[in-house]
Symmetry: C2
Subunit: 211 residues, 2 copies
């Protein structure tokens, strides 16, 4: 009632609109992912985030426990996503190495197209995690690259893949895919499926036209 005595206009508190099937925390994380992508984790302030959520900064802390936690959720959700996919691919029988590589590539591209903000952020901003999480993420990333390298080395042994340095091939693949960022910004986008086919083709068969 005190508020009524001090101001004659009723106080209306902004509420975080939550979509069906999503908590308010999910809304905050989604907005955060967008801002982290645009400006980077460090350059995004909690007041910044709050404004985009439509609420005061302090109110965010009813849903999350710290700024760091937001980044953790984004990074580990994405990492787990990729991890479980590669395990699935690896366990599939009757697949050539090239087919496995194609499956991994296509999954990366799809993820980049469908969950752009979070995949992008988790790839570029994971360095800002703090220490139990930071080491964990480093380990996980190394393990992930190692699994892909094994697929490639397997393919080399079977004569399906050129005898190149497998870790080099992995880093080319993964970074090439993260280039979809530029595609997202570009004016004249080609369709997602065309992009996917082009990327897979270039990485598997190269730029040069065979004679």
């Amino acid at each position: 009632m005190l508020a009524f005595l001090l101001s004659l206009t009723p106080i209306i508190m902004a509420k975080i609109k939550r979509n069906r099937n999503g908590t308010r925390k999910d809304v905050i994380i989604a907005k955060a992912a967008k801002l982290f992508r645009e400006k980077g984790f460090s350059a995004t302030s909690m007041r910044d985030l709050a404004e985009h959520v439509g609420v005061e900064a302090a109110s965010l802390y009813n849903h999350i426990s710290s700024k760091a936690e937001i980044l953790q959720e984004i990074c580990f959700k994405t990492a787990n996503n990729f991890m479980s996919h590669i395990e699935e691919v690896d366990a599939t029988p009757n697949k050539t190495a090239i087919e496995k590589i194609q499956a991994i590539l296509r999954f990366h591209i799809r993820q980049m197209l469908d969950n752009y903000e979070e995949v992008y952020v988790s790839d570029r901003e994971w360095k800002h995690l703090t220490d139990p999480y930071l080491s964990n993420m480093q380990t996980q990333r190394r393990a992930y690259r190692q699994r892909i390298a094994s697929v490639i080395e397997d393919g080399i042994r079977k004569g399906e893949i050129k005898p190149i340095d497998a870790p080099t091939a992995v880093l080319i693949m993964l970074h090439a895919v993260s280039g979809i960022e530029s595609w997202h910004r570009s004016k004249k986008k080609i369709a997602g499926e065309v992009l996917e086919d082009n990327m897979v083709q270039i990485l598997v068969d190269g730029l040069r036209k065979q004679a």
Copy 2:
């Protein structure tokens, strides 16, 4: 003399050691590039930088005018470097499209190996430039990609290159090269020349072994 009255030990001021052929400003920018790469532009403070230079934060301002200026110097020096190279390649007569692409690729890889910190920073942190410089950089980057795309489209027309979407090929190329970051961190590095050959080969002829 006042200082002598207050403390019995003589005051020794740290001086920025400058290498031959380099100003103190150059030293600051080099250290900044290293820190910006490790922690990002926003997460690097001037006191942080000062400590690595071996000086107090305020002293930096005898050599640079702002934190923003440091980023500008790094970004535009690198950008100009790439711009003049592609002009040179473009002007070279009697070169096939594939040869031009190879020359561009090799230049990128070399730059990444030789000027790692600055190239990396200018690629990942240019978004933190402020506005006259930000727009300028955006324009320059777009123009640069466009020139490479033209080379590719030319190659497609002449039947040297597969008929793929040229902008897609460009973004794959450029981002693949920036993956050398992972190579720098990796324990068991292969030699720079091997890396270069591998990358060029994969991008030009793909992973798959021809039958």
